[in-house]
Amino acid sequence: MLKVKKGDIDKMGLLYVRYNRQLFRFIFNMTRQKEVSEDMVQNIFFRMLKYPDGFIGFGEFKTWMYHIARNVVYDHFRKVKRTPAQSELSNFEDKMEGDQYTDAQLDKEQELKTLETAMEKLSDENRELLILCRFQELKYHEIAKILNTTEGAIKVRVHRALTQLRCNYLKIEN
């Protein structure tokens, strides 16, 4: 990124190759809308190109990227005022049409669907924590940097988020 800042724009292509998938999944898990997420990834990389001064030499590129990504995502939430009905759940219905699925597989899919609904019922903050921790597989100290807090606080908050998720899950299941 330092090279991009100095004018070597092609290096941005490298960063894109390295991070686009991770970034896309983060946003997709937050918004559950594929096209919107792709637009946002584009938007984020454009911002990084246009305002490279936001990246201060030290510190990790990843942290900076997540900072921008969070701004973009929360801007989006503010704009659309969260209409949860829009979410695109993974297309279980399509898959179930094939009849060679065993009962166990169907059970598993039911479980996953319940879990996705439970995820959606979480607050944005809790969901984000779990996404960063579980799907993005970031370490606590990395999450702490992204969210501008301490590692200890993250530890407690992730635990609470997971407890809440389990609670939601059990509620839906019964």
Binding site: G7, I9, M12, G13, Y16, N20, R21, F24, R25, F28, N29, K34, S37, E38, V41, Q42, F45, F46, L49, K50, S90, K108, E111, L112, L115, E116, M119, L130, C133, R134, F135, E137, K139, Y140, K155, V156, V158, H159, L162, T163, L165, R166, Y169
Partner: protein, 272 residues
């Protein structure tokens, strides 16, 4: 430390963010606490189930979109940099290269050139002579074109004759000799296309009363339907009322084309 404190470490354990000391403490506690073990199993189940949620791949169009965006941005940067930054740099380089005496010398040369030019330049006679020379030259060219046009009009090739007609536009002041030649062509040329071109050239000269007269007279002489229609149109365009008689005479002619008849009737109506 009670069970609650230990349970806060579950997610650390699951996400592998736990340090060695915390881990062994937790393991010791779990060994003795069935409830916490069950809780951990529950948490692990959810945690692992989360890992099985399908994660979509971004589509290929996203990568394409990014490439396009990056390219556009690069071009924009180049554009923005070129005129301002690089030119400034070049000028600066140039200044630093130019040593003072060299610059002074070049300025001196320019000044000498200006003064010399001023001294050598003698206004008056030479300019007038020059102007008259140009005038006589241009009138000579005009005459030459006229002669060329007149001779070309007699060329056997129709396309050459059309070219000759088009020369009239380039001849600055058309005299009677040229107009006469054009009318001869208009009335007698065997090729319809040449006649049509001539008609067009003559319309441009219609400010001259003699040209209008000649055109009206020419109505009687045309026997091609194409020319008859064209000339009737010209009459309407020029608003030449004196042509009505000639047009009516044309209508009375035997064997007149039906389409032409209708056209001429319309023209007469417009003129009256």
């Amino acid at each position: 430390m009670d069970c609650k404190d230990y349970r806060e470490r579950f997610t650390s354990l699951l996400s592998d963010s736990i340090n060695q000391k915390e881990r062994s403490e937790l393991e010791d506690h779990l060994a003795g606490c069935t409830e916490c073990r069950e809780q951990l199993e529950e948490a692990r189940k959810i945690w692992e189930l989360m890992g099985e949620i399908p994660q979509p791949e971004p589509s290929a169009s996203m990568k394409m979109g990014f490439d396009v965006m990056l390219n556009n941005y690069k071009q924009e940067i180049v554009k923005r940099r070129n005129p301002v930054g690089e030119w400034m740099n070049k000028i600066r380089e140039y200044w630093s290269l130019q040593a003072q005496p060299r610059l002074a010398f070049s300025l001196l040369l320019v000044a000498a050139g200006l003064i010399g030019g001023y001294l050598l330049h003698q206004p008056g006679q030479s300019v007038i002579a020059y102007n008259t020379q140009i005038d006589s030259l241009s009138s000579q060219i005009s005459k030459m074109k006229q002669v060329m046009m007149l001779s070309l009009l007699n060329d056997p090739s129709a396309s050459e004759r059309i070219r000759a007609v088009s020369y009239t536009e380039e001849i600055s002041d058309v005299n009677m000799k040229v107009i006469g030649a054009l009318f001869t062509t208009l009335n007698e040329d065997p090729n319809v296309n040449v006649r049509l071109a001539t008609l067009e050239a003559l319309v441009k000269l219609a400010d001259e009363p003699k040209v209008r007269e000649g055109l009206v007279r020419s109505i009687d002489l045309q026997d091609s339907p194409l020319m008859q229609t064209a000339i009737a149109d010209v009459m309407v365009k020029l608003q030449e009322k004196s042509s009505v008689k000639n047009l009516q005479k044309l209508l009375a002619k035997k064997g007149l084309n039906q389409m032409v008849k209708v056209n001429i009737e319309k023209s007469i109506q417009k003129l009256i």
